[in-house]
């Protein structure tokens, strides 16, 4: 059995760690509340943006536009949204796995990284990091999303890449976050459900091509912004959970070690007593 001092030292160190994890949990809970508010506030915009774009595309069946068709480039741009800090359980790993275990060829992928953790582990895996926007993740603004959007759209317009995906974590609720890979460009329209108002003839000013030319980048930007907001909420949710279970584990270990410590103490007392009794009886 380990010595009393050893057990005590171990117990103290675990206690210190659990204090840290408890504090981190509180911090990420507060951050989560903020991030959640942001997701809520931005939801109507994406809802309408998505509605508007799908309805525009549904009404303009035969519009020939580069944003709607894949060009010949085999290269794929993936915007990978992860976090700058670790200790968030499987959060970063799950996003990275979307790529490493997906069916895209490593050689064809250009990574636009948002978040240091995802960037580093993809780099280790041999992916090409085209651009890095990691500092954005601390406080994503709409203008940041516009910057990222501009970078990928320029590459797309030049024909360097043929498809744009975004890999991020959807914030379902505090305990469920789902890593997802979504195609941004060419715009994937869900065909099939044609509602009555889809049949209204839509007019465009100046004309359909030019309108799409302006609207699709806005759509891409807003999708990126939405992904950033959701990812931030997911990150803090994941960290909160990770820290919660770490605190629980620490508590369990402390209870276990306390028991061991008490047993060791009792054992040493018993031993001392036995020695005294033995010594006393030897004298008699």
């Amino acid at each position: 059995m380990a010595s009393m001092r050893e057990i005590k030292r171990r117990k103290e160190s675990i206690q210190n760690t659990s204090q840290i994890t408890a504090a981190m949990k509180v911090v990420s809970t507060a951050k989560l509340q903020k991030a959640k508010g942001r997701v809520e506030a931005s939801k109507p915009y994406f809802h309408y943006m998505h509605d508007a774009v799908t309805s525009i595309l549904a009404k303009s069946d035969n519009v020939d536009h580069p944003y709607l068709q894949s060009n010949n480039s085999k290269k794929i741009a993936v915007i990978v949204v992860s976090s700058n800090r670790g200790l968030a359980g499987g959060y970063n790993n799950n996003v990275v796995k979307l790529l490493t275990q997906g069916d895209m060829e490593k050689e064809d992928v250009f990574v636009y990284a948002v978040g240091r953790k995802g960037r580093d582990s993809l780099k280790r895996n041999g992916y090409e990091i085209k651009a890095d926007f990691s500092e954005v993740m601390n406080e994503p603004l709409f203008s940041d999303a516009v910057d990222i959007g501009r970078a990928v759209l320029e590459a797309y317009a030049k024909g360097e890449i043929g498809k744009i995906y975004i890999a991020y974590t959807v914030f379902k609720n505090t305990i469920t976050q789902i890593p997802t890979l979504t195609q941004l460009l060419p715009v994937a329209v869900e065909v099939g459900e044609k509602k009555a108002d889809d049949l209204v003839l839509m007019n465009y000013e100046p004309n359909a091509e030019e309108a799409l030319d302006k609207i699709i980048p806005k759509y891409v930007n807003s999708m990126i912004y939405g992904a950033l907001c959701e990812a931030l909420a997911s990150e803090n949710g994941a960290r909160m959970q990770a820290m919660d279970s770490a605190s629980n584990n620490a508590e369990e270990m402390i209870a276990d070690l306390s028991l061991k410590y008490n047993r060791a103490r009792q054992a040493s007392i018993t031993q001392e007593l036995t020695e005294i009794v033995a010594g006393a009886s030897a004298i008699e």
């Binding site: 931005s42 915009y45 309408y48 508007a52 007019n203 465009y204 302006k214 609207i215 807003s222």
Partner: protein, 138 residues
Amino acid sequence: MADNKLFHIQVVSPDRVFYEDDIEMLEVCTTEGEIGVLAGHIPLTSIVAPGVVRFIQSGETKEAALHDGFIEILPDKVVILAESCEWPDEIDIHRAREAKTRAERRLKGADGEINEARAELALRKALLRLQLGNKKVK
């Protein structure tokens, strides 16, 4: 046609629902010029240019600065998806003035086409903010 016919308008920006109400008339700047929208407008999708947007409701006019986005006019409602949109009292005149100077400086020393276009857009936004912001002071 009956006057005071109302239609539903929603102005949505990434961080909030900016404005939502039933109004009589809407005036908005598009890339093709200013347009006025009454109830029963034909379906139209257009790109918003930086400008003043006016919501007219029972004789009262509300003004706001609308910087970027697009407008979708549907038979039953009008949706403006704005990338940024502000009420006059939210405008920081000081910042707008700085932005104006910055944009003008950049336009003078423009070194590339793309920069020029962006600086011009920034200048227009700054001017718009000043225009609306100064009105508030008077």
